[in-house]
């Protein structure tokens, strides 16, 4: 038997995850995800959860603790956005109501798939399809806008399209967004995002941001703040549910991710204010495509080990 081979530096034992991890790894992970959160208005759940798996945190703990981390970075982000008056609170509330409804039905679908034993596949397919589709759409749109700007030399005129969407009842004036539309489309967007978020175990920002831009025609400036506002409440709800039903929230892990994350989020939101909306869109699109591509390859390529183990019975 050998003595411990490596010199352990700043390791911390996590009480719920029951693993020992380097403190700086966790701070770094939190920082990267916080930066993205502040920059793009996405919660970062779609990155933090796979990254935590990768460093050896049990999946159930990673999902639950990731949600808690998202709460902190959203609070930080929302406060920064509020200062810039970039949150449409009435719109956020409508999306939130839809989100909670969707999340409740999403959990039902999640349990159904778990019983069938194919939840992993469903989650991966959801990631690949939705991330890939959204990423490509955003990339195309972003590039086109930049090309048009270069050609015309000026900002593209904002078109106000009058479609069937504008004929729906329950119209409401969303002042911050400069929209006078029915509450039904944002409510439906909230529901759809809620369902997907529950199945994929994420906040859903990466789906909501493009939905707000393309389906609701909201200005990019308020999209990020409003999306963060909705994510804040949905992920708080998720954290509490996980803590109560599964006892899988690791507060020590969350704290370290949060410390890194809140700093990252502040830097991100300041950086975001300097970048142009089109550039932001292209960057987010590229990030989303990379994640989707990686997950897609995992599905197609021959796995290095055909077998995998999971503690706990079926």
């Amino acid at each position: 038997m050998q003595p411990p081979q490596r010199v352990q530096f700043m390791q911390i034992y996590l009480p719920i995850a029951e693993v020992s991890v380097n403190i700086f790894t966790l701070l770094g992970l939190g920082g990267i995800v916080g930066l993205l959160s502040g920059l793009f208005g996405v919660g970062g759940g779609f990155l933090i959860t796979p990254l935590l798996f990768f460093i050896g945190i049990p999946p159930s703990v990673a999902v639950a603790t990731g949600a808690n981390q998202v709460v902190a970075s959203s609070v930080s982000g929302v406060l920064a956005q509020l200062k810039r008056k970039a949150v449409d609170i009435p719109m956020g509330l409508v999306l939130l109501v839809g989100g909670l409804l969707g999340s409740a039905s999403g959990i039902y679908v999640f349990n159904l798939l778990t019983e069938l034993g194919q939840i992993d596949l469903a989650v991966q397919l959801c990631y690949v399809v939705f991330l890939g589709l959204i990423g490509l759409l955003m990339l195309q749109e972003g590039i086109r806008t930049i090309q048009e700007q270069r050609k015309g030399g000026g900002v593209r005129k904002k078109r106000v399209e009058h479609t069937w969407v504008h004929k729906l009842p329950f119209k409401f004036k969303f002042r911050a967004s400069g929209l006078y539309i029915s509450v039904i489309p944002p409510l439906l967007v909230g529901v759809a995002v809620g369902i997907l978020a529950a199945i994929m175990g994420v906040g859903g920002g990466f789906i909501m941001v493009p939905a707000m831009i393309y389906l609701l025609n909201m200005p990019t400036k308020v999209v990020i703040g409003t999306s963060l506002f909705q994510i804040l409440f949905v992920s708080a709800f998720t954290t509490l549910m996980h803590a109560i039903t599964n006892q899988t929230v690791d507060v020590m892990l969350a704290l370290l991710l949060i410390v890194g994350g809140v700093i990252g989020a502040q830097i991100g939101s300041r950086l975001g204010a300097r970048l142009k909306a089109e550039q932001l869109r292209i960057l987010l699109a590229l990030l989303v495509i990379i994640v989707a591509g990686k997950l897609g390859l995992d599905l197609v390529l021959h796995p290095s080990n055909l077998y995998s183990i999971a503690t706990g019975g079926e």
Binding site: M1, I16, A72, V75, S76, Q118, L121, T239, L255, G313
Partner: protein, 275 residues
């Protein structure tokens, strides 16, 4: 004590008969010392652990355990029979599901699974020599010493044709994670009397009682067995958080949320101040 005596008796019976045949091969040239007159082996393990409990603190990053002991003899040492010592350390048992992927419509999907009702979360075997040479199959099966035998019954009906590759995969994965180990030569025997084994426990330990077993073998047969336990427990802040999370889940959840909201607010406030 009763159990120990019974085991010893069992061990003796097991040793007595087949040992004769083997000894003649190993030690043919020993004139003047008839095999039948040889004193019966009467050996017992007297052992100690460097510690009988491990506290998992916040800075816990693995632990060293020394298991040592001596072989106590009432009579002179039996000659000619190969002495061996095996020490095992076994973490708490838990159910495990092993899944296998196969290609369906171009993508890799989990299609088959085997459930093991109880597999140790940690299992290390230290031996004084190659396991195949010092332990016979029957003793191994009875005592469940070698790594594949550490896994207990399957859970649920078996839906695959051959479950062996699945359990082998479990052992391989856990070996890679440093959770299952076989340390050939990990037990040092001095003068056929004193022995010691060092274990380096990894940082990703699960809480519970770690069962320590010491086997004294001669020619692959069990002579004596010693069993003890090391208690691995979270202590201090780790203990407090773990207990709170399980016994006061709602409060713990709210605490986590409050912490997150506070941290988010504090960061925003600090950055505003700095500007």
């Amino acid at each position: 004590m009763m159990i120990r005596a019974a085991l010893l008796a069992l061990g003796l019976c097991a040793v007595a008969l087949p040992a004769l045949a083997q000894d003649q091969q190993v030690l043919p040239a020993r004139p003047g010392m008839p095999i039948t007159n040889r004193p019966e082996p009467d050996e017992q393990i007297v052992a100690g652990l460097s510690r009988d409990n491990i506290g998992i603190t916040t800075s816990f990053d693995g632990s060293q355990i020394l298991i040592y002991g001596a072989i106590k003899r009432e009579t002179p040492e039996p000659e000619g029979q190969k002495l061996a010592v095996i020490v095992t350390l076994e973490g708490p048992l838990g159910p495990v599901t092993i899944r296998k992927k196969s290609r369906e419509f171009g993508i890799w999907v989990n299609t088959a699974s085997v459930g093991v009702a109880a597999a140790p979360s940690y299992y290390a075997v230290a031996t004084s020599g190659p396991l195949g040479d010092i332990l016979d199959r029957r003793t191994d099966t009875q005592q469940r010493i070698s790594i594949p035998l550490a896994m207990r019954a399957f859970s649920g009906p078996i839906t695959v044709d051959d479950s062996i590759p699945f359990t082998e995969a479990l052992v391989d994965i856990r070996k890679e994670q440093g959770l299952y180990k076989l340390e050939t030569g990990g037990v040092h025997i001095v003068d056929n009397t004193l022995f010691r084994a060092d274990f380096a426990l990894p940082a990703n330990l699960t809480e519970g009682d770690y069962k320590t077993r010491i086997f004294l073998l001669r020619d692959g047969k069990l002579v004596d067995k010693y069993q003890s336990a090391i208690e691995v427990r979270k202590v201090g802040l780790e203990r407090w958080l773990y207990t709170l999370a399980h016994e006061n889940a709602a409060l713990y959840g709210l605490l986590s949320l409050a912490l997150a909201v506070f941290a988010g607010w504090a960061a925003a406030a600090i950055f505003r101040f700095v500007r």
